[in-house]
């Protein structure tokens, strides 16, 4: 399957809009070619190539709306999708909150496509797996990992003249190394848009080193500890919170960003003043599409948290209109400022603390306080007088990222983590946090 270029995608959008008899029509096309290789027990378990393209059509008659999607692109299928969306829309009740499609927009492109990533082939993927497997075998370890690369495009259009087309590439690698007796485990993750910024050998070596160092973990009493969270460990908690920066939820009184008596906490200082977070679709570490697919509005660079104060919330078209606010596209990435220190330097300045490689199975316990629970995993170490002393058994934590970002001691160097399942590409620093709340021990390695 050939991915569509701008002209081909435009032709299909025009065709779909032409078929529509509705008052308005919105079109989205996404296509991708995804290659992956998965290995476990020092052997490749699956590898595959997946190509797919999906068309999504949303039409409206007055305030009645319907959507249909399909993955076939001959004229008959395009028309079928339009008719199906129209049938649904005609039968749907009116939505008083319906917002008409936006008018023509300007989207300033970001560089999201990198030819070296698009050129990745089965041999490249096998080589990635081989780096881990060979290194693990020579260290008497067992490795499991996953490498995935995507080359794709996103197209949007509507019957008011909106059109946007963006091609992108992306790769993600995770690798776990375990000792043969299962007493030690280490992990690493890497993301990149440009394959030239990815080194499988370097990454695998980190997982291997952590596995070897984590054998014979000692049990520490659960309680409040200073933690040094690696960027991947912190992103699991922060991703949850930044997914909740919704103005409507806050205005309606059902968010941690709701103000007592009504309204939002926009402008209030909620975090330590070292905390600065923004979104920027053109960020060179985490470039993303420059429009928000839902509203079709352009994305902008804007502050989300400035010196610990809430600087922006996300408004839907409807809520922005109701509140009299100019709407902007929802962010596609989250960038958090850090310092220049490496993880080792953060450890060196720590009297007593715990290094956390990875956090796992994080779930909301109470949305009122953003209390989250989860566990540490694949490399948890005790630090004393600036040095890693020994591995420790994994902990369960019950902690709120709001509390966590109030207890910042020091921030390290930011790294691209990729999306944590919330659709946001994140660049997050390692961070030293006081009084992080570990509530029980886990026997899991």
């Amino acid at each position: 399957m050939k991915l569509l270029n701008q002209e081909e995608a435009k032709r299909i959008c025009d065709r779909v809009i032409g078929f529509s008899k509705a008052d308005e029509c919105r079109v989205g096309i996404s296509g991708s070619r995804t290659g992956n290789i998965r290995y476990a027990q020092n052997s490749v378990s699956t590898a595959g190539l997946n190509e797919n393209m999906t068309l999504s059509v949303t039409v409206a008659f007055g305030k009645r709306q319907g959507t249909a999607t399909i993955n076939e692109f001959d004229d008959k299928s395009l028309e079928k999708a339009v008719r199906r969306a129209e049938d649904v829309a005609r039968l749907a009740p009116e939505n008083p909150e319906f917002m008409p499609a936006v008018g023509k927009q300007e989207y300033k492109a970001a560089q999201t496509f990198f030819a070296p990533t698009a050129a990745i082939d089965p041999d490249y993927r096998a080589e990635v797996a081989s780096h881990s497997i060979v290194a693990a075998r020579s260290n008497k370890l067992v490795t499991a990992g996953f490498f995935i690369d995507t080359t794709g495009f996103e197209t949007i259009a509507n019957s008011n003249g909106v059109f946007g087309h963006q091609e992108y590439t992306d790769l993600n690698f995770t690798c776990t190394a375990r000792t043969e007796d299962g007493r030690g485990s280490g992990w690493v993750t890497r993301s990149a848009s440009d394959a030239r910024r990815f080194d499988a050998r370097e990454a695998s070596a980190i997982a291997i080193e952590k596995a070897l160092r984590s054998v014979d973990a000692k049990a520490l009493e659960p309680g409040r500890y200073t933690v040094i969270l690696e960027p991947a460990a912190a992103s699991g908690l922060l991703g949850f919170m930044f997914g909740g920066f919704d103005a409507r939820q806050a205005d309606e009184g059902r968010s941690f960003l709701s103000k007592k008596g009504g309204g939002t906490r926009l402008g209030e200082k909620l975090f330590d003043e070292q905390v600065n977070v923004w979104t920027d679709p053109w960020n060179s570490d985490a470039p993303v599409g420059t429009w928000d697919g839902g509203s079709m509005l352009p994305r902008e660079r804007r502050d989300i948290v400035k010196d610990g104060k809430i600087a922006a919330l996300n408004y839907s078209l409807f809520w922005a209109k109701k509140q009299g606010i100019k709407p902007t596209g929802r962010p596609g990435n989250i960038i958090m400022a850090g310092g220049s220190k490496s993880l080792e330097e953060l450890v060196a300045s720590t009297k007593k603390g715990i290094v956390v490689t990875r956090t796992w199975y994080i779930r909301s316990v109470d949305p009122q306080s953003v209390l989250l629970t989860g566990l540490t995993r694949d490399g948890t170490f005790y630090v004393e007088n600036g040095k890693i002393k020994h591995p420790v058994k994994n902990f369960r934590f019950n902690e709120s990222p709001v509390t966590m970002l109030n207890n910042v001691d020091e921030l390290g160097k930011p790294e691209l983590i990729g999306s944590e399942g919330n659709g946001l590409q994140m660049v997050i620093p390692s961070m030293k946090i006081r009084d992080f709340n570990f509530t029980s021990l886990s026997d899991a390695v």
Binding site: R38, A40, Q41, N42, V44, S45, A47, G48, L49, E51, N52, M53, Q65, T67, T69, I70, N71, K80, R83, R84, D87, V88, A89, A92, P93, A126, S130, I133, F146, T174, C175, S185, G253, R254, F256, K259, K260, G261, G262, K269, L270, W360, R363, V365, D366, Q368, S369, V370, T373, L375, R396, S400, V402, N406, T439, S440, S442, D443, A444, V445
Partner: protein
């Protein structure tokens, strides 16, 4: 229309037989027309022949058409109605002792043959890094057969307006009963799956599932507090008759604290109750942390079963194949081999069952063409078996696969997924009310809430939707800020009573994620109300800035 659950069909007559079964079409909807069987068979043969010619020792082909409809509502408004359709073909082969997989959404013979050849090339490349060749447990070819989810009302024939109005009626009932906000959604799935393999099977399946989650939110702006209560419906493998709200399917919770539902659901009644409960939660007493006897309703316990029994007994996890993501398992082969590993108390029996009527995991055959079956996982508290696919059966001394292979789409490779795993009902007569009478200091928990468990499934923490304090055999009122933390083996060994079969019903997970790239599957877990003694409960209330 009552469906037959198993339809033996043959050759060219197959397509003609299926048409009346699919019923009448709705306006301009082609969703109802299945792809012709003869066409699917000829496409499948194209792939099987191409794979054999390219040197594959085994090949299976899955031709899939996946139809979904999602309706989302908020208060009195329909936010969106989405119909999705995805069709294509996935080809899996074994060549040189290794798997290869390729897929295409181009349903032409050339494209499918090409996918088969691509799969063989990938298998050959994978074989170079393979430590030993795959060993597949044998499966007898079944020829041309069909299976369909038993249902009375096809969700595809119910007008969207009627469905939207039902959701809005539920939201209105909730708002009238004191909710500040309501959401109600409806997820409906139809998977038309055709499987063929070089073992001589041509299996046509038509699978239906649905789920209607709702949430009532109560806000007190003066205190800046908000609380939610989710609906208590289970996702089911059945038709739209689930929403018939038959009185016979209603069950009173212990102490009459709410109404629960078996095989049909009264969404309006539950929305009303949810609003009332959410409002009560705003002023409910906060829990004193400590040890409590927990009385867990099936609407809650299903998720604890899923996480602490379902996942650790997946054989691929036990063997290390999920080590990089989902994790491994504490239920290791050496423990199983002792035949004495006490997973739980003597009264604890877990059964895997892919035939359970109305369950999310019910199929005629799995995605390797293995007929659905039933087997014991935990018997009298002892770990006796796992969940296996064809290539794993030999590792645990089984002659046949358990039939646990599943792929969530035509373009996903099939792998081991959880069957319905359920806790057998207690053998002695016992109702939830009688169970509560024996509790001095306890909490009755209903509904699915927060859930988290470690990567080897030892340490977990769960919450629910509703918590009622039990004092000296009586339910005394709602409490809040409850979560229980335990260790899987300790927890199941602390199981002190299980209500009898009259109280047995299923909960389920509609979007259970596993694998890399992640795939979702749907699975049910049945139980009766069950008690666990002396479980550690924490208080989850926190204050922020």
């Amino acid at each position: 229309m009552e469906r037959r659950t198993f339809l033996k069909i043959g050759g060219g007559a197959a397509g003609a037989l299926l048409v009346p079964v699919f019923g009448e079409a709705i306006a301009a909807e082609e969703l109802m027309n299945p792809v012709g069987l003869a066409f699917k068979k000829s496409l499948a043969d194209t792939a099987l022949n191409a794979a054999a010619k390219a040197g594959a020792s085994y090949c299976d082909v899955r031709i899939g058409r996946y139809l979904n409809q999602f309706i989302t509502t908020r208060d009195l408004n329909v936010e969106n109605i989405i119909n999705t359709e995805s069709s294509g073909v996935g080809v899996r082969v074994i060549a040189n002792g290794a798997y290869g997989f390729a897929s295409t959404n181009d349903m032409s013979p050339d494209s499918i043959a090409n996918a088969a050849r691509q799969a063989v090339a990938i298998a050959r490349a994978n074989a170079r890094l393979q430590s030993e060749p795959l060993r597949m447990a044998p499966v007898k070819g079944v020829g041309d057969v069909a299976w369909a989810t038993p249902y009375k009302k096809d969700w595809r024939t119910v007008p969207v307006k009627e469905k939207a109005e039902m959701l809005i009626a539920a939201n209105k009932a909730g708002l009238d009963a004191g909710a500040s906000f309501m959401t109600a959604n409806l997820f409906q799935v139809n998977q038309q799956k055709y499987f063929a393999s070089t073992d001589g099977s041509y299996i046509d399946q038509d699978i239906h599932r649905l789920w209607a989650p709702l949430t009532a939110t109560a806000v007190d702006k003066a205190t800046n507090r908000f609380r939610t209560r989710d609906g208590l419906a289970s996702p089911m493998g059945m038709g739209y008759e689930y929403f018939d709200a038959r009185p016979a399917d209603k069950v009173q919770a212990a102490g009459g604290v709410t109404t629960l539902y078996r095989n049909s659901y009264d969404i309006v009644e539950d929305a009303r109750a949810a609003a009332k409960h959410a409002r009560e939660k705003l002023t409910a007493k906060t829990i004193e942390p400590g040890k409590y006897d927990l009385v867990l309703s099936p609407e809650h316990l299903f998720l604890t079963i899923h996480e602490s029994v379902g996942h650790p007994t997946e054989l691929d996890r036990v063997l290390g194949y999920e080590a990089n993501y989902a994790g491994t398992s504490f239920a290791t082969l050496d423990k199983w081999q002792t035949k004495k590993f006490k997973f739980g108390a003597d009264r604890v029996n877990f059964i895997a069952d892919k035939n359970e009527k109305g369950s999310l995991g019910a199929v005629g055959y799995d995605d390797e063409g293995v007929p659905a079956k039933r087997w014991d996982i935990i018997r009298d508290g002892v770990l006796v078996n796992y969940q296996a696919t064809r290539d794993q059966a030999h590792i645990i001394g089984e002659k046949e696969s358990h039939g646990c292979s599943y792929a969530d789409s035509w373009n996903s490779v099939q792998f081991q997924r959880m069957p319905n795993v359920s806790l057998a009902a207690g053998k002695e007569r016992l109702t939830p009310d009688e169970m509560v009478k024996d509790v001095k200091k306890g909490i009755y928990i209903l509904g699915r809430g927060s859930y988290s468990i470690d990567q080897q499934r030892y340490n977990f923490q769960f919450g629910g939707q509703l918590y009622y304090e039990i004092k000296n055999g009586k339910i005394v009122g709602q409490v809040e800020d409850v979560a229980y933390q335990s260790n899987t083996q300790e927890f199941w060994n602390a199981c002190s009573a299980i209500c009898d079969q009259r109280d047995w019903r299923m909960g389920g997970s509609f979007f259970d994620g596993k694998g890399q790239p992640s795939q979702v599957s749907a699975v049910s877990h049945g139980s009766s109300t069950t008690r666990f003694n002396g479980i550690n409960v924490i208080n989850t209330a926190r204050k922020i800035g």
